[in-house]
Symmetry: C2
Subunit: 350 residues, 2 copies
């Protein structure tokens, strides 16, 4: 895999106008983190939101639920391996599974720019329906708004989902323990690269297809089989390195991974090199990381490999070291800190 040395450098937050929203505020780097920490969380804070997980846990009088929402502004809306419709379903079903929940129902809000083709809208809705059918869940509520030309960008979607908790223990960053094994479910960075190539009109042969898919089945299978899973997280915005940093920080643990074990396909690594991207910071949409008690790690990998979408599951490291820090042993055997990026390598990939 490619080795982009800039990740060694602790980038200072660039001196941008702090009084307005920047594109990087929508990413997964330190600038976005700052917006969350200084604007959203102080005002909205509550126990469920403060857990900072992919789905919130909601207790009703009658049971335990997971609740999740995600906005999708991917550009272009169609890319090799998927489109915004399937992406929105995958994203929300996966987020529910990452909290240890079985999907129960989805809702979908459409914000469409005037002039978007009805035929394209039908493609998006059909793709959404097919993905929902595969997840055995229905879109039970929907809303549509249309904005004037030049006030939107084709189509934006927001999907929300509710799920029934399957996990007996809380699946959360704070549940992660020293010694847990860090397992990724497959090769990294394909989604971001696929969208980027589609956006830039890069005509590669063979085309890199997005990894966008449903991952709830293998994730929930681990729970069903009694594997002691402490945390799940799907590897979306900001890629593996960002996701590990988020968990290290929210769970106050150290994480140590090995570059040599980190799965990146050769063709994807080549495109990343061409585009100047570090694949560890490039989003997937059908991959997740599981923090599993050491005694169950090899059985967990066996179970995951039974599913197509996680047949590349592999153990890449362990929970140890300084709280809040992610360290990677590089290919040449040197330890380096895998930090949050300042901004976002790839805007609007989801």
């Amino acid at each position: 895999m490619t080795d982009a040395n800039f990740t060694n450098v602790r980038c200072p937050i660039p001196s941008v106008d702090q009084s307005i929203v920047q594109l990087a505020h929508g990413g997964a780097g330190r600038i976005a983190q700052k917006l969350l920490d200084q604007v959203f969380r102080p005002i909205l804070h509550n126990p469920a939101l403060d857990e900072l997980h992919d789905s919130a846990r909601v207790t009703s009088e009658s049971g335990k639920l997971a609740f999740s929402t995600d906005a999708f502004v991917v550009h272009p809306w169609r890319f090799p391996g998927g489109d915004i419709g399937s992406l929105a379903v995958h994203g929300t079903v996966n987020d529910l599974a990452m909290a240890g929940a079985r999907p129960l129902a989805l809702s979908m809000a459409f914000i469409i720019e005037e002039g978007f083709k009805i035929a394209d809208l039908m493609t998006v809705i059909e793709s959404m329906r097919n993905a929902a059918d595969r997840a055995r869940v229905a879109v039970v509520a929907a809303d549509t708004k249309v904005v004037e030309r030049g006030k939107g960008d084709g189509i934006f979607l927001v999907s929300s989902g509710i799920g029934e908790m399957v996990a007996e223990r809380p699946i959360l960053p704070t549940s992660v323990r020293e010694g847990d094994r860090v397992i990724v479910s497959g090769c990294l960075a394909r989604h971001g690269v696929a969208v980027m190539c589609a956006r830039d009109g890069l005509d590669l042969d063979p085309v890199v297809e997005s990894d966008s898919t449903l991952v709830h089945e293998p994730a929930l299978a681990l729970l069903k089989e009694g594997i002691e899973v402490h945390c799940f997280r799907d590897i979306t915005r900001g890629g593996l390195a960002t996701v590990l940093n988020e968990i290290a920080s929210a769970g106050s643990v150290g994480i140590r991974i090995e570059e040599a074990r980190t799965p990146v396909r050769e063709d994807v690594a080549s495109v990343c090199e061409l585009l100047g991207l570090n694949p560890l910071y490039v989003a997937c949409e059908g991959r997740f990381v599981a923090f599993v008690a050491e005694k169950h790690a090899s059985r967990a990998i066996e179970i995951l490999r039974d599913y197509d979408c996680s047949k590349g599951a592999t153990d890449i490291g362990v929970v140890e070291g300084r709280a809040g820090q992610v360290v990677m042993k590089s290919l040449i055997g040197v330890d380096r800190v895998l930090d949050l990026l300042s901004g976002e390598q790839l805007p609007r990939i989801c």
Copy 2:
């Protein structure tokens, strides 16, 4: 109140380019209906979505839930009496109540245009928080995406909500029965007029303030008091006339109302006349209509009048006549059909 005669005329759908999304597709008129009926519903259909109510009913193993989603693209984002943050909370809490459910949790997705002021973002989030506090519900999940300048319009919000069913019977258009009384909770059209004046810079004295508010307390109080409510609907896009048409159509009932009993404040009626709007087609964001068994109608009005937000509750008509048709006895005693408009009088008011 003003009497815009164009509602007597059955407007043909204008010959627009049918292959692209029009601004009117986001409204509540016949063009929007056509998009729903020909594009969304055939592809997405499922029993919950097909009920065509403000919230979907979801049955989990452990209980009965309501689930709702709404996109907000109101322009300008701030208007007399509210802003997009409070509006998004009101809209979703009210939608849950309209299905007979007590709000349990909200989620919120932000799609922000690069360059939006952080101070304005904080205003929106604070207003959202305050509205959620008043509803005694928390925003437990959130997501933020940022799009480039010129690819959005300041700020769009999507709020979703889950609620626990309080209603023992289904509160649905198909539950409406011949002889039910039609009760509106207060004066009409203030929200749409307030947004329109803000957008056009109309400097009225006194200013018309939006009616945007929470209405779940009086609605749920009716259920708690054992009032036989057959259907609720909040009077948003398209105003009272559109909402009644939706229920007449989905419930296969006729509805007959009296113009003289339909509450529109004089100042609001004057602005409508000035702007060429029919207030019966102008949105509220803090008003609802209840279809109540005749024997309980006067008690229902008493209960509603105990709450500030519904102290103007009044009986405006009855369920009778040709299925699918809404008829209004005008001020001069003539019956006329209150039809769906073709397009939308006021785009982007929610």
